[in-house]
Structure formats: structure tokens, C-alpha cells
């Protein structure tokens, strides 16, 4: 075995070991690496009870309303199978609208209303000019 073959093999072994180690570390922290839970996961009881967590879902069309003269707004988040009512006091991001993907951070109150302390808009990976979007929605 030439010295350079030995060095190459050595590097490969180091890479393999560190790769395997990081695979298992990421695997065991899988739940912590999730940025948000879906409404179905929350209803299945996966959410922590004692601290704040994030819910991600689409804002149900027609569910949004705002109390007159206040910043408090209420809307329903859904993932298609389960939905959760959310209340938030504050300024909503530009991309917030009905049908949009939203991530809300907060806790449930005693009336099972999710009180959000932060609302972020999630953007999808689709980009198109307004005319094409109008055409696509009219086809649906």
C-alpha cells in the first residue's frame, strides 16, 4: 500500500465515522429540529403543555376577522384534516392573507383558543407573474 493510498483510506474512514455519528445525532433530535407542528399533530397530543410551541398551517378562507378598533385578530389554521383557532394581537406580516401558509407561536388558553405571541408568513417555492396566477386560479 502506497502512503497516499493509506492517507486516502484514513480520510475516508474519518468521514464515514463522523457521517454516521451525525446521522444518529440528527435522528435522535428529529423532534427538536422540527420548526413547527401541524394542527393534526397538535390534536394528536404531540404539543408540549408547559411551554410555547409553533403551529404551521393554512389560514382557512373566510375565517379571518378583526375586532374593530383593536389589533387583535382571529383566524383558523388548518392542514386539511384538523384545524385550530388562533388569536393574535399585533401587526401581521405582508404575506398574511387567507389561504396563505402561516406559522404561529404561542400557547392554548383555558378556552382552547391558541393565543399567538408571534405570527410568521411562510412562502411557498412558486414564483409567477400576476397574470399567470390570475389565469391559473380562473381555470380551477
Amino acid at each position: 500500500m502506497l502512503p497516499r493510498h493509506r492517507r486516502f483510506l484514513g480520510i475516508c474512514l474519518v468521514l464515514l465515522t463522523v457521517g454516521l455519528a451525525s446521522f444518529f445525532i440528527l435522528k435522535s433530535f428529529q423532534d427538536n429540529l422540527l420548526y413547527y407542528l401541524t394542527p393534526s399533530e397538535v390534536i394528536a397530543g404531540k404539543a408540549p403543555e408547559d411551554r410555547e410551541f409553533r403551529i404551521g398551517g393554512l389560514v382557512v378562507t373566510g375565517s379571518f376577522f378583526r375586532q374593530t378598533g383593536s389589533l387583535t385578530s382571529q383566524f383558523v389554521l388548518t392542514d386539511g384534516s384538523a384545524s385550530i383557532e388562533v388569536s393574535y394581537k399585533g401587526i401581521l406580516p405582508d404575506l398574511f392573507r387567507e389561504g396563505q401558509g402561516i406559522i404561529a407561536r404561542g400557547k392554548f388558553n383555558s378556552a382552547n383558543l391558541f393565543i399567538a405571541s408571534e405570527v410568521l408568513a411562510k412562502h411557498d417555492e412558486n414564483y409567477m407573474p400576476p397574470e399567470i396566477h390570475a389565469m391559473e386560479t380562473s381555470l380551477e
Binding site: 486516502f8 406559522i103 410568521l120 417555492e125 414564483y127 400576476p130
Partner: protein
Amino acid sequence: MNFKRIYKYGSPPNYFRLCLKYENWFTVPGFLLIIIGCYGGLFLAPPDYQMGDAFRIIYFHVPSAYLSMSAYAYMALAALVGIVWRSNVAFSVAKSIAPFGASFTFLALVTGMLWGKPMWGTAWVWDARLTSEFILLLLYLGYMLLHASIREQKKADRAASVLAIVGVINLPIIHYSVVWWNTLHQASTISKLSSPSIAGEMLWPLLVMIFGYGFFFWGVICRAGATELLKREKRSNWVKEYVEEHQS
């Protein structure tokens, strides 16, 4: 395996001459593509249906992010060649890539924050994609720090190279972070197998910018790598000959 041909072209004097000769073959097309891409992206492409004109930062964010990752792959490959063949040429290429890779990672993070603040409602979250890209910046900085902290050149090269090679594990994590975990960051738009989910008149300036950044990067690396090599080999005969040749 027979590496004789590569050994000949990869010898320090030969590599140095090749770099200086072909440098402009990268920088000139790089600049042209970036100018065309900027014009296409900022003036010709239509605004997005949701984000309006704000989406145009994609033309700087995505190319920077692409380059931050591919530059790391090149750096790690050069480091591997350097370790296996004890090659000064490969080590100087790896070392010269690090600051530029770090710069593009920084650009990707900053443009992402500028984009995230108005659109998501926040400039920074610790989701899997943003965190792993931040770790990439730390890997570049770690490589540079480790290299600078060891006085003996050969030891510094070897130690920093091992760090660079091990850090490659972060690349698939960055790429697949949006698939493996729920993230605030959206999924990939163009690097997926099905057709890209972006309109054609918005896509071409993006591709032009990605290639422009790539060409520009290689042009810069030609120059930076050659300079690094010159510093390392300052006592060798070919450098003396080169200097004498160019003094008159």
C-alpha cells in the same frame, strides 16, 4: 492508476502560468453574465403575484447560496487532493477558496435576512435551513482560524484540510433540510427533478446570475490561488526565474 499527465500540469510553475493565462476566460464572462442577469432580473422579469418587486432579491440570494455550498465542495476536494498527494498546489487552492466562500455564505445570510424581514415577518429564525447555512459560515471561519493559528505551514495545511473534509457532511444537511424537517424556509424551486416552479421569464435571469457568480468565482480563485502559491514557493527556482523574467 497513471497520474503522470496530471502531475505534469499540476506542477507549481505550470499551474501558476495556466492560472494567469486563463483567468480572464472566467472573470470576463462572469462580469458579462452578471450584468445581463441583473438587467434581466431587475428590469425585464415581471413582479411576483404575491411579493411584487420584493421577490427580485432572489437574483442575489439564490446565486450566493448556491456558490457558498459549491465553493465548500471545491475547497474540501482540494483539501483531499492536498492531503493524499501532499500537493502544495491543492493546498493553496483550498486556502484561497475559504475567504471567498465565507463571503458568499455571509451574502446569502444577509440577503436572506433582508428578504425575510418584510415577507416572513422576521429576519432570523433558528429553523433547520437557516441554522445549517450559519454552520457553513462557521466551518469556513473555523478553517481560516485553524490555518492561521498553526505556525508551521505543513501542519496547518493538514489540520485545516481535515476540518474542511469533515465539514462536507453539512452540505447534504443544508440541501435536504427543507425536505427532512418542517422549516420556515421554503422548499427548493429550481433544483428539483420535476419542472421548476417558477415562470420562464423569471427563471432565465436567475440561471444567468448563477452561472455569472460561478464564472466570477473561478476567475477570482485563479488569481488568489496563484498568489498563494507564489508566496509558498518564494524560495524555489521557478519563482526566481519568473521574477527575473518580469523585472526588466
